[in-house]
Amino acid sequence: MQPTHAHAASHQSQQSHSHHHIVPFKVNMAVGITLLVLTAVTVWIAQFDFGAMNMIVAMTVATVKAGLVVAYFMHLRYDNRFFLTMLLVCLIALTVFIVFTMIDQKSRTSIYDYEMQEIRKNAKMYEKKALTPPKDAVPAKH
């Protein structure tokens, strides 16, 4: 029965490892409230026009929110570091995918003598359906 004893002993020693990290109630609430505040910030900040910076500002706030969710709600801050590495590899791959596509998109005109064309079938929606927007139509409110 020697192996059994060894097994039992190793279990005893690992008892402390299997104790999962419990995120304190206060931390959970603080993260939740911060996320709600940042949502208000996102809405509030969208009123201002920063030109090309609009997208960067909104995505920065969104990424801070996403970081909080991943770190505290998804426990990545307390978990095995390997999970974080996997996530970062995935995000780098996604960034390469989108950035390289955008480089292609932006440099097309210098290679080809045409730009993205209208989709012919639906190009002139109003004419095709014989629908004209009413002259006195109220501009969309935001």
Partner: protein, 238 residues
């Protein structure tokens, strides 16, 4: 008690899983190919994370489509996004963040063996998911009513404000594809959390074993994560 479970009554070596469990003093939840419960829990979580990463890449394709078309049709996107009601989007953001918080607290409760609290927190989470879908239903039915639809189905007559620029159906194609796929995830999340809730009510989870609660929670947080990006992209910037 018969001799099968009572080892003292038999001379033979332990053979059945039940006997081996009793012999080796490990948790009845632990599968034999894992060293310990912590390793088993980490392996399960790693599998879930790998799945979530494929989900991120799945939505990533749609985010890339959004990036291409929004740069190509910047004016049309800006004009078309005003057709969405940002108040509805903001309400749904608040609902999803609340549900993310409650599911995180539900996991905390089961870690502390507070089963009743965990059950109620999961009920609130699923209720929030339902509220999200109801709000989405009102938004969708309004868009469908106005004819703000993808591709050939687009037949908006400008009655609620003119959209400047050509091909506005592209914006609504992206809107419906992204929110539709996200909405499908909300429905699947409700089913997964509903199943977790049923097992929780049956008393199958405790502080030692709650892996499905944790993994269901991870899935639900991903649904929240995607929406955190969708909301400003579709409702606020355009």
């Amino acid at each position: 008690m018969n001799g099968v479970t009572n080892l003292a009554a038999t001379d033979r070596r332990p053979e059945t899983p039940l006997e081996l469990h009793a012999e080796n003093h490990h948790s009845p939840y632990q599968a034999h190919h894992f060293t310990d419960m912590a390793q088993q829990f980490d392996a399960a979580k790693m599998g879930m994370w790998l799945f979530l990463l494929t989900e991120i890449l799945l939505f990533g394709g749609l985010f890339c489509a959004y990036a291409i078309y929004s740069t190509e049709h910047a004016a049309m996107f800006h004009s078309a996004h005003k057709m969405l009601d940002w108040k509805m989007g903001a309400l749904n953001t608040v609902v999803l963040i609340t549900s993310s918080l409650t599911v995180a607290l539900a996991i905390r409760s089961i870690q502390l063996n507070q089963r009743k609290a965990a059950i109620w927190l999961l009920v609130v989470t699923i209720a929030c998911a339902a509220v999200f879908l109801v709000v989405k239903y009102f938004e969708y039915s309004h868009k469908i009513h106005l004819g703000l639809l993808p591709g050939n189905f687009y037949h908006y007559d400008g009655s609620e404000g003119v959209i400047i620029g050509n091909n506005p159906h592209i914006y609504f194609g992206i809107y419906f594809a992204m929110t539709g796929l996200h909405g499908l995830h909300v429905v699947i999340g409700m089913i997964v959390l509903g199943w977790v809730l049923l097992r929780l009510i049956k008393g199958e989870f405790n502080s030692e074993y709650y892996t499905p609660v944790e993994l269901g929670g991870l899935y639900w947080h991903l649904v929240d994560l995607i929406w955190i990006y969708l909301f400003p992209l579709l409702y606020l910037i355009g």
